[in-house]
Structures are given as structure tokens and as C-alpha cells.
């Protein structure tokens, strides 16, 4: 099962797959802009401010999706010890922190005119802010260790613990809020006009492709980093860079070489 997943990852991250993803991501974002700014009408109550939702909701969806991918990469790394899973987790965390930050900023910009304040201690807002901090911590931990294997293991543990923590954070904040008599918050209208729903769906699809594209770019940087290290080491160890990279990719062989 990990092998099929790894092969699919390999296909998507090949140069051809990367180029296609890039074209689709740019097209998708352009379509979202067109839908959000021209095709959809202004909201009956909020007017044009409402349009920020076409970016805010997709960004929030990706914030949570990317940390699910960090969890998957972390668990897969600890099970298989293959470096590509660690690179996947790292790439997803970096892109995830970007989208989480974007979610918070876009939400604030929307909240100012609609709720009359940049920030309220709404459970979703608070959980997202804590999520942001946890994964900033994840990225900080990645900068610490001196060896790549140690970095991968430490980061994987933080990736798992952080993900387990988020639901508990959310639950605690929901209870905390309900004791404080939350002011009635405006929720997204239960029945959205079809054209608005279409705009939202376009945004979600476009951002998801954009996410995949950014992750593949980051994965290539990771591979190049591995290659640079292998090439620097190869004259000293008297072995070819390819050989060293294969070893790093599947640690069983390292043990075989002793």
C-alpha cells in the first residue's frame, strides 16, 4: 500500500506532472478570480465584502488538509523510514502554515466590516490561531537537529502530536466560549445561491490544485538538497552520488552495508 502511494507521488512530482499542475493551478486561480469578482452577484446583506469568502473558505480548507498530509507523511516516515515521506510532511507543513496565515488574515479583513472587529474569540478563529502556532513550532523543530535522520524523526513526532492536539484544543475552546455567552455570530447563509456555491467550489478546487503544485515544487527542492549533500560527500566516501541517494531513500540498504 505505501508502495502504490509512493508511485503515485512519483508520477505527480515528475517534471511533466509538475508542469501540468502549474498550468491547472494558474488557470484555476484565474477562474476563481473571475467567478468571485464578476460572475457572482454581491451578497444581499454584506454586499461586496462577502466576496472574500471565495478565498477565505478554500484557504481554511487547505489549512486543515495540509496538516492531515503532515500527519500521513509523519506516520509513513516512522513506519518506512523513507526520506521522501519526511519531505512530503515538511513540504505540506510549509504550505500549510502559509494557508493558515492567509486564512487568519482574510478572516480578519472580512470580520472588520461585518462583525465590527478584527478579532473575536470565536472557537473556529481561536483553534485556527493555535493550529498556526503549533505548526510554526513544527517548522522551528525542523531547523534544530544536526543530522537529517534525526530531523525527520523529531519532526514526525511533532507532526503526530500536533495533529492529535488540534481536536482537543477545538473542544476546549468551544466549551470555553459557550460559558461566555457568545454573541450570535453570523453564519454562512444556509441556502446559498447556486452561482455563489459554484464560485466557492471553483475556489476550493483551484486552491487544492495550487496546494498540490506548491508541494511538488517544495519536494523537488528537497530532492535537490539531498542530491547536493550526496554529491558533496561522494568524493570523500569514494562512492557515486546516486548510490548514496538510494541508500538515504531506503534505510534497509544502509544496514546491509553496515
Amino acid at each position: 500500500m505505501p508502495n502504490t502511494a509512493e508511485r503515485a507521488m512519483g508520477k505527480l512530482t515528475a517534471r511533466r506532472g509538475e508542469r501540468w499542475l502549474g498550468v491547472l493551478a494558474v488557470g484555476g486561480v484565474a477562474a476563481t478570480v473571475a467567478m468571485g469578482l464578476w460572475v457572482t452577484p454581491p451578497d444581499a446583506e454584506e454586499g461586496n465584502v462577502f466576496r472574500i469568502i471565495y478565498l477565505h473558505v478554500p484557504a481554511a480548507w487547505l489549512a486543515y488538509l495540509s496538516f492531515l498530509v503532515v500527519l500521513i507523511g509523519s506516520v509513513a516516515y516512522l513506519v518506512t523510514k523513507r526520506t521522501r515521506w519526511d519531505w512530503l510532511a515538511a513540504a505540506s507543513a510549509e504550505v500549510g502554515v502559509l494557508f493558515t496565515g492567509l486564512t487568519l488574515v482574510l478572516g480578519s479583513i472580512w470580520a472588520k466590516p461585518v462583525w465590527g472587529t478584527w478579532w473575536t474569540w470565536d472557537p473556529r478563529l481561536t483553534t485556527t490561531a493555535v493550529l498556526f502556532l503549533i505548526y510554526v513550532g513544527y517548522l522551528a523543530v525542523r531547523k534544530l537537529p544536526d543530522s537529517p535522520a534525526r530531523r525527520a524523526r523529531w519532526a514526525a513526532v511533532v507532526g503526530i502530536v500536533g495533529f492529535v492536539d488540534v481536536p482537543i484544543v477545538h473542544l476546549s475552546v468551544v466549551w470555553w466560549r459557550s460559558q461566555h455567552q457568545a454573541p450570535a455570530l453570523l453564519h454562512v447563509a444556509p441556502r446559498m445561491a447556486p452561482v455563489m456555491a459554484a464560485g466557492l467550489m471553483t475556489g476550493v478546487a483551484a486552491f487544492t490544485i495550487l496546494y498540490a503544485y506548491l508541494v511538488t515544487l517544495r519536494l523537488r527542492v528537497g530532492r535537490l538538497e539531498d542530491r547536493a549533500v550526496a554529491e558533496a560527500l561522494s568524493p570523500r566516501l569514494g562512492r557515486s552520488a546516486e548510490e548514496l541517494m538510494d541508500e538515504a531513500a531506503s534505510p534497509q540498504e544502509v544496514r546491509a552495508h553496515g
Binding site: V130, I134, A140, V141, L144, R153, V157, D165, V173, W175
Partner: protein, 223 residues
């Protein structure tokens, strides 16, 4: 049962180090006291505001002071290659985690008693109505804090640069403890109801993080 015995041995070792070195008494306690005085000064002498914010300040002091306690717990392992010795010892790695967490829990509980008395005195927090619920919040909250701190404390071992990352990592993860601990304390001291569900949340947090820590701790050490 060997796991329990091994954890007990580790916890005993850490507590003996504390008994002889008096680090927590000499540094962690004064730090918590300094924080409380600073909180009091920043909020002004108005009794009503201080009483209202006392549960929050109490838990903030616990949270920040506990960071020092965790750091100490692993600092002693960095000296003289003690951690290597611990890793080479024929014991379960999970026992190291459980033992260190138990020792830190004991130290933090002692700290909690002093901090609570200080807050009661300085901020006029009344402990009369439901002392059992307050004590429960501290026991459960301390166990959860100790679990996270003992898990990630190992990252701070042997490097100054790493110590800076530790609070950044631990404080956001401890959000549920802060929220639930403060609410339980404030409900219990003001004579309200509903402290039980907050204690339940703390217990759930403890169960999850003691279990996760026991499972993943070895990955932080394996080299």
C-alpha cells in the same frame, strides 16, 4: 509490571537529584513568585479585577514556571553523558518517559500548592467552596503538562539553541490545559457548577498524551 518498576526507578532518580540539588526550590518557585508579583503590578491594586483574573494568572504562572522545570529535568541528563547511560541501560524507553513525567508531576504539584497559596493571599482568591475540584484540576492539569514537557524536553538536551524552541512548541500544545484548568478553578472557587466536565476534559487530555508519549518517545531517542 517491569515497565512500572523501571519507571519508578527513573522517577526516584530524578526526585533524588531534586532533593539534593534543590533546583526547583531555588529557581522555579522564585520565578513563579516573580510572575505573580508582575501580574499583580500590571493589573493594578483594584481588588475586584484581581479576584476575577486570579484563576487565569495562577495557571499562567504554573505554565511558564513548568517550562523551567522541564528544562531542568533534561539538563541533568545532558551532564556527563547521563542520557547515553540511560539509553544503554536495559530498560524500556517508555519507562524513561513515564518516569521523568512522574517525577516532574510530583515537583509541579508541590509548586502548585505554593502558587495557589500565594494567589489566595495576593489576589484574594477564596478556596473555600470546592477545594476538591481545585485539587483535581491541579492534579489532572499537572499530569498533562508533565506528559508534553517530558516528551519534548528531550529536544532541548545538549544545545542552547534548542531551548528557545521548547516553549514555542509546548505552550500552544498546552492550550487545552490552560483553558480547562482556568475554567475549572474559576468555577470551583466562585461556587458555580460544571467543574466536573472541565475535569473530564483534562483527564481526556492526560489519557491521550500519556498514551501518545509512551508510543512515540522512543523515536525521539533512537540514534
Amino acid at each position: 509490571m517491569t515497565l512500572l518498576r523501571q519507571s519508578w526507578a527513573i522517577a526516584g532518580k530524578d526526585l533524588r537529584i531534586e532533593m539534593r540539588g534543590r533546583y526547583a526550590v531555588g529557581l522555579v518557585l522564585p520565578f513563579a513568585g516573580t510572575l505573580l508579583i508582575a501580574f499583580g503590578l500590571s493589573l493594578g491594586p483594584g481588588r475586584a479585577l484581581l479576584q476575577q483574573t486570579a484563576p487565569g494568572l495562577l495557571w499562567l504562572a504554573m505554565l511558564f514556571a513548568s517550562v523551567l522545570a522541564f528544562r531542568r529535568s533534561y539538563e541533568s541528563e545532558g551532564e556527563d553523558g547521563a542520557l547515553e547511560g540511560l539509553l544503554l541501560a536495559p530498560i524500556d524507553k517508555a519507562a524513561v518517559f513515564l518516569g521523568k513525567a512522574a517525577a516532574v508531576t510530583a515537583q509541579l504539584l508541590a509548586l502548585a500548592v505554593v502558587v495557589t497559596l500565594l494567589v489566595a493571599g495576593l489576589f484574594g482568591l477564596s478556596l473555600g467552596s470546592q477545594p476538591g475540584a481545585v485539587a483535581g484540576a491541579f492534579v489532572l492539569g499537572t499530569v498533562g503538562l508533565a506528559a508534553i514537557g517530558s516528551l519534548f524536553g528531550v529536544l532541548t538536551e545538549s544545545s542552547r539553541a534548542r531551548e528557545a524552541v521548547f516553549p514555542l512548541l509546548v505552550l500552544p500544545l498546552a492550550t487545552p490545559i490552560l483553558v480547562a484548568g482556568v475554567r475549572a478553578t474559576s468555577v470551583a472557587t466562585s461556587g458555580g457548577t460544571g467543574a466536573g466536565s472541565w475535569l473530564g476534559l483534562l483527564a481526556a487530555f492526560d489519557a491521550v498524551f500519556v498514551a501518545v508519549g509512551t508510543l512515540v518517545f522512543e523515536f525521539l531517542l533512537e540514534d
